[in-house]
């Protein structure tokens, strides 16, 4: 169990983490979500004692990280996959970590095998791809068979196979009673992997709940309806207190009343329905909805007409230039 209480971190003028409190429970994968610069990595660095907190505490099973006698045997952290000396082999990187906790060579070899790096284990890490470095990072996190895992963007750089493998691995680890906190900016990945979510924005807690609850609480429920008589049905829905918007393909999007009520309304007025489907929002949509205001770095809104490809200038306009070119080359 990871307990974070009133945790803050100030860097100069910016408050990267702002009085954050949450608890991560064992037995399930907890996703740690937030826009870029929300303070996810900083929070993880504070929990593991790499950064000193300005206020508050973070404990692991009730103990501060710095007070764990053999921390790698209790907490496995993946904070920066690239953070390996490029001149050292994967094996030696794991070996020096293992030796600090009196973990044997056998375990190092097992971890290389687990993450699929046995064949390149004695090659220098400098030649590794991002995905291979990520696997090495996962191996070092799992080295001490820890009961708590803190993983910052662990699937970054993994190929689809690797992502699938990793998802199963951490679910399996969580199911065995471990505490797993995983940050990611890939919402779809989190929706598939995490049962619980902690959402932060600008260093503050926005939500802590199960993934399903978070999605349902932060999305407008709507129902898509196809009918040969849209005018009649729209009338009925508006009188019943719903809202209707008509899309280009002629379908109606109904909000504020549910699918069953729409079906009843249609039946009572003998209006035929060709489709009646409740729309489920994605985690991504829910996340956008909830963190919109706290996003620090945001691109311009993309609105209006599609941006056309610039039309090439007429051939006549180019011709003189070509002439000039030909002239100078002579």
């Amino acid at each position: 169990m990871i307990e974070v209480r009133d945790l803050s971190k100030r860097y100069g003028d910016t408050l990267a983490v702002d009085h954050l409190s949450f608890t991560v429970y064992p037995g399930s994968v907890t996703g740690f979500l937030g826009p870029n610069g929300a303070g996810k990595s900083t929070t993880m660095r504070l929990i593991t004692g790499l950064d000193r907190a300005t206020t508050g505490t973070a404990t692991i099973n009730g103990v501060a990280y710095a007070d764990l006698p053999d921390p790698l045997r209790v907490v496995g952290a993946l904070l920066e996959a690239g953070a390996v000396h490029p001149g050292r082999s994967a094996f030696n990187h794991l070996l020096f970590l293992a030796r600090t906790q009196a973990i044997g060579r056998r375990r190092v070899e097992e971890m290389l095998e687990l993450v699929g790096l046995t064949e390149v284990g004695h090659e220098r890490v400098g030649g590794f791809s991002l995905g291979m470095r990520q696997r090495l990072g996962i191996a070092s996190a799992l080295l001490g068979d820890p009961e708590v895992l803190i993983l910052d963007e662990p699937v970054n750089g993994l190929d689809p196979d690797g992502i699938f493998w990793f998802r199963n691995l951490i679910r399996h680890l969580a199911a065995g009673g471990r505490t797993v906190l995983v940050s990611s900016h890939l919402m779809t990945e989190m929706a598939l992997t995490a049962e619980n979510l902690i959402v932060i924005g600008r260093g503050r807690l926005i939500a802590q709940s199960s993934t399903a609850e978070f999605i349902s609480a932060n999305s407008e429920h709507s129902v898509r309806v196809l009918t040969p008589d849209p005018d009649r049905l729209s009338q009925l829905i508006l009188t019943a207190g719903g809202t209707v918007t008509r899309s280009a393909d002629g379908a109606l999007t109904v909000a504020l009343i549910d699918a069953a009520r729409i079906g009843d309304l249609a039946a009572s007025a003998a209006v035929t329905l060709h489709e009646l489907s409740p729309q489920v929002a994605s985690l991504e949509e829910a996340f956008m909805e909830r963190t919109h205001e706290s996003r620090q770095y945001r691109g311009a809104d993309i609105v209006g007409e599609p941006l056309p490809v610039p039309v090439p200038a007429p051939a006549a306009a180019i011709a003189p230039a070509q002439g000039t070119l030909a002239g100078t080359s002579r």
Binding site: R45, T48, G49, L50, D51, R52, Y65, A66, L68, P69, D70, P71, L72, R73, V74, A77, L79, E80, G82, A83, V84, H85, P86, G87, R88, S89, N92, H93, L95, F96, L97, R99, T100, Q101, A102, I103, R107, E110, M111, E113, L114, S140, L142, L143, G144, D145, E147, L169, H172, L173, G176, G177
Partner: protein, 279 residues
């Protein structure tokens, strides 16, 4: 696979004595030091360069023995051991400064420091293990270089001047060369820990040891004499030479003590900052 089962493959903690724990950390540092090619090269270079330059310079002196002035011959006769050990000494200093700095700063530039601090969140034991291991390794390597240089130089000079290890102060100077280089290695680790950036730390320590400290010899007056004598490396080098002036401010061992105090002070500051800073 063990990690994916609910059974624990590694027990949560192991009962080890404080000494065993520290021994584990020194072992871990040994793995770090020996698993990167550049450190092995730097240590080999230290021996090769200092021995071969001793051979070259002493060989030149020996070859031109009959053409140099009587005054020059007299200087060499007075203190042949300093001539022999001094030839390769600068290379040893250079190599150990660079390597000592790199032992720490390469962890910062590559990010390995994060892995190290996650494994040992109390941090200071890592610094202590680095110091113990690096001092031990450089002492042995520097002794190999010092004894090889000495015997080579003594053999080359033997037709002109007899040089013996048993003459007063000679054994002390040869062993002292290793002790000095080893202490300089600790000094470099402290500088690396304080500055954390490779280029800045190397420039700083080389500039100080090889340029600034020797230059203070030019300071005028009594104050200049004291400043020169008490600067860390100037004081420490007293142990690695023979033929101290009769009016020297510090005896060889006193000088080494002064250097050790400087190093201890710098290392304490480094440990304090290591503990406080974010990594």
């Amino acid at each position: 696979m063990t990690a994916t089962t609910a059974q624990r493959a590694v027990p949560t903690s192991s009962d080890r004595s404080a000494i065993t724990r520290f021994g584990n950390l020194v072992g871990s540092e040994w793995t770090k030091l020996t698993s990167v090619r550049s450190t092995i090269w730097a240590l080999l270079l230290l021996v090769i360069l200092s021995v071969s330059f001793t051979g070259l310079l002493i060989g030149l002196i020996s070859g031109q023995w009959d053409t140099i002035t009587e005054q020059q011959r007299q200087v060499i006769r007075l203190d042949p051991v300093s001539q022999i050990l001094g030839a390769g000494f600068q290379f040893s200093q250079l190599a150990v400064c660079v390597l000592g700095v790199l032992v720490v700063t390469s962890e910062y530039t590559t990010g390995t420091i994060r892995a190290s601090m996650l494994a040992v969140p109390r941090r200071i034991p890592v610094l202590a293990a680095k110091v113990v291991l690096f001092a031990g390794v450089t002492f042995m390597v520097a002794e190999v270089a010092a004894f090889s240089s000495f015997f080579l130089g003594a053999a080359i000079l033997s037709p002109h001047i007899p040089v013996s290890l048993t003459a007063p102060g000679v054994l002390r100077a040869v062993i002292g060369a290793g002790l000095y280089i080893s202490m300089l290695g600790i000094f470099a680790i402290a500088v690396g820990t304080l500055i954390r950036h490779t280029a800045a730390a190397i420039t700083g320590i080389i500039g100080f040891v090889l340029v600034l400290a020797p230059l203070t010899l030019l300071l005028p007056g009594n104050l200049g004499k004291y400043v020169y004598a008490y600067l860390p490396t100037n004081a420490g080098q007293q142990l690695a030479t023979t033929g101290q002036a009769a009016d020297a401010l510090l005896s060889p061992w006193q000088g080494f003590g002064v250097f050790a105090l400087w190093t201890a002070a710098l290392l304490t500051l480094a440990a304090y900052l290591l503990q406080r800073r974010d990594v």
